[in-house]
């Protein structure tokens, strides 16, 4: 009864999530609005484009009731630009994630504020529309690998407008390989080379499937390093405490930006 999977999403769960991404379709048949648990679907009137969840779009596609509009980032020009950026311009980091949807601010003309800024709920992938026809080109969304794979497999004929499937798949493979190498290299910053082992590592721009693939390995390295270094860490915290800084404590801080505060307190003592 209880779930026997290890912590962290598996590949199948990640692709289930990716199916919640929103895509744009061009309906080929009329279909009235359907009352779903996630809200009413827009009524389909060909040839008006609508945005729908990917799982529904694929269902309509299989029934030949709609065509899927490929997201701009899947265009070969966009993909090769990203490959270029990943290999030449910034060979160590992942390329930037898509910008947060924003709109002009009424009070401060010229400065865009994020959409729905005053909402308490904030959308994040897969609910952020990053695979629709309006999505910006040149940025890989969080679920890029799964969405690209599903679109090419189940809606390959709709992707023809972009270029040959072979070309797109080739570029996607290049991306996968370049980024997999970066993922492996990231373990160096995790402290696997025996140098300074810090507490925070940023993998900005990484994709969901890439995380799922490497989760076990990376978390294993981080947790392993922590166990090996547990006594070193305990000694360091003791020393910091003796030196008068509030250092180790529960909150964490103590180094870096907090350095000034610490020395101020020292002066006080």
């Amino acid at each position: 009864m209880a779930l026997s999977l290890p912590p962290g999403l598996t590949h199948a769960e990640v692709s289930f999530l990716a199916e919640m991404e929103t895509v744009t379709i061009v309906p080929r048949q009329r279909l009235d609005s359907i009352d779903l648990l996630s809200g009413k679907t827009p009524s389909l009137r060909p040839p008006h484009r609508v945005d729908l969840s990917l799982w529904l779009a694929l269902l309509l596609k299989k029934q030949r009731r709609a065509n899927i509009v490929p997201p701009p980032w899947l265009h070969p020009a966009s993909l090769s630009e990203i490959v270029q950026r990943e290999t030449k311009e910034n060979p160590t980091a992942f390329s930037e994630p898509p910008p947060v949807p924003s709109r002009p601010n009424i009070h401060q003309p010229g400065i865009a504020a994020r959409q729905n800024n005053n909402e308490t709920v904030q959308l994040s992938p897969p609910f952020q529309a990053s695979c629709t026809a309006d999505a910006p080109a040149g940025y890989l969304p969080y679920h890029w690998m799964e969405v690209a794979e599903m679109l090419l497999t189940f809606a390959g004929d709709d992707m023809i407008s972009l270029g040959s499937a072979g070309e797109i798949r080739g570029l996607l493979r290049d991306l996968t390989e370049v980024r997999a190498a970066k993922m492996r290299d990231s373990t160096k910053t995790l402290g696997a080379d025996g140098e300074n082992v810090g507490g925070v590592v940023s993998l900005r721009g990484v994709g969901a499937m890439e995380l799922a693939e490497n989760r076990g390995f990376i978390l294993g390295v981080v947790d392993g390093m922590r166990r090996i270094g547990a006594s070193v860490e305990a000694t360091r915290r003791e020393q910091e405490e003796e030196m008068g800084g509030p250092g180790g404590g529960g909150g964490g801080g103590g180094r870096g930006d907090d350095g000034d505060d610490d020395s101020d307190e020292d002066m006080g003592i």
Binding site: M1, L3, S4, G39, S124, L211, V222, G256
Partner: protein, 220 residues
């Protein structure tokens, strides 16, 4: 209603997020978080789970009504509704099972203090208490009763604590939802990082927890 609200209503770029979509996102986030966090997280507040369960129930009733008429046009709508229903049911089931797995693993720990007990839903609490009682009785009748009385406890805290606890320092991945400072403890140094929105960060769960609870980050 002030001028901002009026402007917002006529602003075509502004879509407020519908309630149903918010609920789905919250359920999805809760599920991902429960699947990734090393410890049991609090039961979702504001009756989210109960609301979703009620919706699922009424949707099932609707499907039963619709299967009556065999009009081919409603037939496709039925397929769509059922597909979505299955997706929701999967989410709910996987979420509950992930929680039960954690409760089973560290039952005594989650029953030990009121604070920890409050994370469990009513049903989960009843399950955990009864399961533990059954287990204890079984152990008693099969072997514990032949031990000396002072060794019969299952939750001795003297000396080495017998109650196993989840590893709160296990590493997790989080996505930042706001621009915040991220503080993380490391082996050789403690780091403060100037985090930007949509950064994906690896750090210890004990450091990530305050950010996640404040809604500044989510587990991925």
């Amino acid at each position: 209603m002030d001028i901002d609200d009026i402007l917002r209503e006529v602003d075509p770029t502004f879509h407020s997020i519908p309630k149903e979509k918010q609920d789905l996102q919250e359920l999805t986030r809760a599920w991902i978080a429960e699947r990734s966090a090393p410890e049991l997280l609090p039961w979702p507040p504001n009756g989210l789970f109960e609301r979703i369960n009620d919706n699922i129930k009424s949707q099932i009733e609707k499907v039963e009504e619709m299967t009556g008429d065999m009009d081919p046009r409603t037939n496709f709508a039925l397929i769509v509704i059922q597909t979505e229903l299955e997706r929701y049911k999967y989410l709910v089931r996987s979420y509950l099972r992930a929680r039960i797995a954690k409760i089973d693993k560290h039952t005594l720990h989650y029953l030990s203090t009121d604070n920890l007990r409050s994370r469990l839903s009513e049903m989960e609490l009843a399950y955990a208490t009864r399961h533990q009682a059954l287990l204890h009785n079984h152990y008693l009748s099969s072997f514990l009763s032949s031990f000396p009385p002072q060794l019969q406890n299952l939750n001795d805290a003297a000396g080495i604590n017998m109650v196993e606890t989840p590893d709160l320092d296990a590493a997790v991945f989080i996505r930042l939802l706001k621009d915040v400072f991220v503080e993380g403890r490391g082996v050789d140094s403690d780091v403060t990082m100037d985090g930007r929105e949509s950064d994906i960060v690896i750090l210890r769960w004990s450091d990530a927890k305050p950010l996640v609870e404040a809604g500044q980050a989510e587990l991925v």
